[in-house]
């Protein structure tokens, strides 16, 4: 089989990204009678359980900048972020009519309330607010989370019309472990040689994983990493930055490209955290639900939607991301009206100040079209680092 080029892979990923009818998922579902699709919103759901049920987990990250929101705006006041309104638009316009269930993870009050709205608007579709523990002791938060996952599994069994065995879940864990290893490999490659795997490309490759079966996505990741490593690309005098705050409503692709054009190499980010939420492999044998709970409690990413019980640890994930990737600064890019990101931001900025790490901040929406101010701000930030940083 011929190894596809990066541009071929990216073209395929971009096509998936632009397709607001989710054709790939529809095709997957239609290929075999009885197949089911379960949609999920950011930040995290244990996709392994859906996979083990023989279903396709489908990441719904809003409508982006290509969706004209007509009905969705009628459901939300102007001071509420855009992802819920574009998600409703996707729903009421029939673009999600093939989806058999929707999960609304515990992230903020808006997504939480959207779970109830979905129940009202689409009463025939399974809709679940997926609660997770914000306390991390095994016997407390762990027991609660195991209970929540078991309840979810029981719901999936009803939808699937069959039992889901531990063996099946362990098989799915194995498949997702592989996928996470590849995602991490791509992140490591981008941090080491960002000119070889630009953020705008890495974004599309990871984003494809929310739409494709995981096995297919792992193959695609392998192909992209292999192709990106050997392609000859010029090195630019860019500044390495970590981008944070984009864990829910996704930035328009142009925003990522604009950061690159303004002289940034994005070497770490919090886009689509579901792809690498769990850190390291989840054990592939034993009680899979327990193992998933342990990974969530003790080996998962930090983000604004999660409580940090230890004051000293607050924001340190960002300092580590800077140190580990050799970044020279941090860009806080938060969605307008995003409570978790915007309330967290001053605390994270204080941590960066203490660590002497430069940063800037701006807001965006998934349909932001005017990139000039962002380019200017990011460009000035890069210039200031290049001109005045001690290094």
């Amino acid at each position: 089989m011929t190894q596809p080029t990066t541009s071929e892979i990216i073209a395929r990923c971009e096509e998936l990204y632009q397709d607001l009818n989710f054709t790939a998922a529809r095709v997957w579902k239609e290929a075999k009678p009885g197949r089911k699709v379960i949609g999920y919103l950011p930040v995290y759901v244990p996709r392994e359980l859906i996979h083990a049920a023989g279903m396709l987990p489908l990441g719904i990250m809003g409508g982006g900048d290509n969706l004209e929101v007509i009905h969705g705006d009628a459901y939300y006041q102007s001071y509420i972020c855009r992802i819920p309104r574009s998600t409703i638009e996707l729903g009421v316009s029939g673009r999600l009519d093939f989806v058999d269930g929707m999960l609304f993870p515990s992230i903020c009050d808006v997504i939480r309330n959207l779970s109830g709205m979905w129940k009202m608007l689409f009463p025939e579709v399974y809709a679940k607010y997926f609660d997770v523990p914000q306390t991390y002791k095994d016997e407390i938060g762990g027991t609660f989370y195991i209970g929540e996952m078991r309840e979810f599994l029981s719901d999936l069994e009803k939808i699937a019309g069959r039992k889901i065995t531990d063996e099946q879940i362990n098989t799915s864990i194995r498949v997702y472990n592989e996928n996470r290893r590849l995602v991490n490999e791509l992140y490591a490659l981008r941090a080491a040689v960002p000119w070889q795997a630009p953020a705008s490309e890495a974004y599309l490759v990871i984003r494809a994983g929310l739409l494709l079966p995981v096995e297919e996505h792992s193959r695609l990741l392998r192909q992209y990493i292999d192709a990106a490593k050997v392609e000859e690309r010029p090195i630019k005098d860019n500044c390495k930055v970590v981008v944070t705050g984009m864990f829910c409503e996704q930035p328009p692709l142009n925003l990522i490209k604009s950061l690159e054009l303004s002289g940034c190499y994005v070497v770490d980010d919090d886009f689509m955290l579901v792809s690498r939420w769990l850190i390291g492999d989840v054990p592939e044998s034993g009680d899979p639900v327990y193992n998933l709970s342990q990974a969530f409690l003790h080996r998962s990413m930090s983000t604004a939607a999660k409580y940090e019980p230890n004051l000293e640890e607050k924001g340190q994930f960002l300092v580590r991301a800077v140190r580990d990737t050799g970044a020279e600064g941090v860009i806080f890019a938060s969605t307008s009206f995003c409570d978790p990101a915007l309330l967290d931001r001053p605390m994270l900025q204080n941590v960066l100040k203490a660590a002497d790490i430069p940063f800037i901040a701006f807001k965006y929406a998934e349909n932001s079209g005017q990139m000039q101010p962002i380019r200017e701000q990011a460009g000035t930030f890069v210039d200031s680092i290049k001109l005045w940083s001690v290094a």
Partner: protein
């Protein structure tokens, strides 16, 4: 002392005797708080929804509620400056104004409504119930005060039911985290019988509170369940639940309400007794506090009275039957937290508002959508449509903010209210014509 209408300060404002009594209680509480250093009392900051006052009292801790402090700042026209202070320090203009008012107040010396400095908390009891912002708020306060922070997570009632897993989770948190840390901070050993005693007192006051809130079913309603309701809920949602003071206050208030029912009177407004009751409304959402009197006046000037509101349920949905139960002390605290209004799913909230419209024979639903409160606001437009559809009663939508004066446009709100009252009139006329 029997209830009566008395002239209070400032001189042009009329208040019920119960309102004066409530004000005195709140003032005493603030004096207790601001003298905590002198008396050696320790302070626990916590939130109104999920307020565990009975438990806090078991450790001789004084309850401090940052939301109530922000409300006090709003009523005293101080919150605007506090919010801008917080924004200058880097807090976004997009986020909750309670948080920014609290942080701005802290930056300006943390002066309480009695003009004295509020003490730093000895412990932050982060009871995370019905509002995601609470979580971040106390992370921000923890950064400042560097005191022990206890996290109590209340799972969201998304499917309209409380599951055993939810109760077990909360009871475990109480047993293994909350109580041991409160013992450590306070130096007081936990006594479950003391908790039972307070819970029994809570239930007594809750009975009277429900009677008072449900008196809005009378015609005319003897209470305003939104603007007046703010006064009524103050003691039980704040630092008095579980005390004899609360029992006395709600008994006193009940007698006052009974007198008005017997006399066929409506509530007392800041400008005197309410005139003819023309419109009976159910209101969803918190009020605006920076222009509280002006806002209220827009209603009573038009003869509009709020007969039921969702805001008076943020500290407990007692009218749906919940009472603190001394026989199940920890479980009852869990159930209390789970049941508060903002921890209820959107379909549950819709059911509740429809029930209110029907049971209180209201003319319609008014939603006051709060710019900085996503917990309440996200989904309210769907709530409005659904309630209209189910009840056949007109609904209207206004937008203000909790304590940010920049988001209160008096002319805009007044226009909308006047249009809404006209809409109710039209609906009545057409109903009359059809009959």
């Amino acid at each position: 002392m029997r209830p009566s209408i008395v002239k209070a300060q400032p001189a042009d404002v009329l208040k019920d005797a119960s309102m004066i009594k409530q004000k005195e209680m709140m003032a005493n509480h603030y004096n207790r708080l601001t003298s905590a250093h002198e008396t050696g009392a320790k302070v626990a900051s916590t939130f109104v929804p999920g307020n565990l006052n009975e438990l806090i009292m078991c450790f001789d801790l004084v309850n401090n509620l940052p939301e109530v402090n922000a409300i006090q700042s709003g009523l005293r026209k101080q919150s605007g400056a506090y919010i801008m202070e917080a924004e200058r320090a880097g807090h976004s203009e997009d986020v909750c104004t309670y948080v920014k008012s609290d942080i701005g107040m802290m930056m300006k010396g943390n002066i309480g409504p009695n003009g004295k400095k509020l003490p730093d908390p000895d412990v932050l009891l982060l009871s995370y119930t019905g509002c995601f912002t609470f979580l971040k708020w106390f992370e921000l306060l923890r950064e400042q005060y560097k005191c022990p922070t206890i996290f109590l997570q209340t799972p969201y009632m998304a499917d309209g039911k409380v599951t055993p897993n939810m109760i077990q989770y909360m009871v475990k948190q109480l047993k293994e985290d909350v109580i041991p840390t409160l013992e450590k901070v306070s130096g007081v050993k936990f006594d479950i019988d003391r908790l039972r005693e307070y819970l029994a007192k809570s239930a007594k006051a809750e009975d009277d509170l429900v009677y008072i809130l449900q008196s809005g079913k009378n015609k005319p309603s003897p209470i305003d369940a939104y603007f007046g309701g703010i006064y009524y809920i103050g003691p039980i949602f704040g630092a008095f639940r579980g005390t004899d003071d609360a029992i006395d206050y709600y008994r006193f208030l009940r007698e006052e309400v009974d007198q008005r029912i017997a006399a066929g009177l409506g509530p007392v407004t800041p400008d005197g007794p309410m005139g003819e009751e023309k419109y009976r409304l159910v209101v969803e959402g918190p009020p605006n506090y920076t222009h509280f009197r002006q806002f209220w006046k827009m209603f009573y000037d038009e003869g509009a009275i709020v007969v039921a509101s969702s805001y008076t349920k943020v500290g407990g949905t007692y009218d749906y039957g919940f009472r603190h139960d001394p026989d199940r002390p920890l479980e009852t605290l869990a159930e209390y937290c789970l049941g508060v209004y903002t921890n209820r799913s959107l379909p549950m909230r819709i059911d509740m508002l429809c029930d209110y419209i029907n049971e209180y024979e209201a003319d319609g639903l008014l939603i006051n959508s709060i710019k900085s409160c996503n917990s309440f606001s996200a989904g309210q437009l769907l709530i409005m449509r659904e309630v209209e559809k189910r009840t056949g009663k007109p609904a209207a939508f206004i937008e203000t903010d909790l304590v940010d004066p920049r988001y209160f446009s008096a002319a805009n709100v007044k226009n909308r209210l006047e249009s809404y009252f006209q809409m109710i009139e039209q609906k009545r006329s057409s109903a009359g014509a059809a009959a």
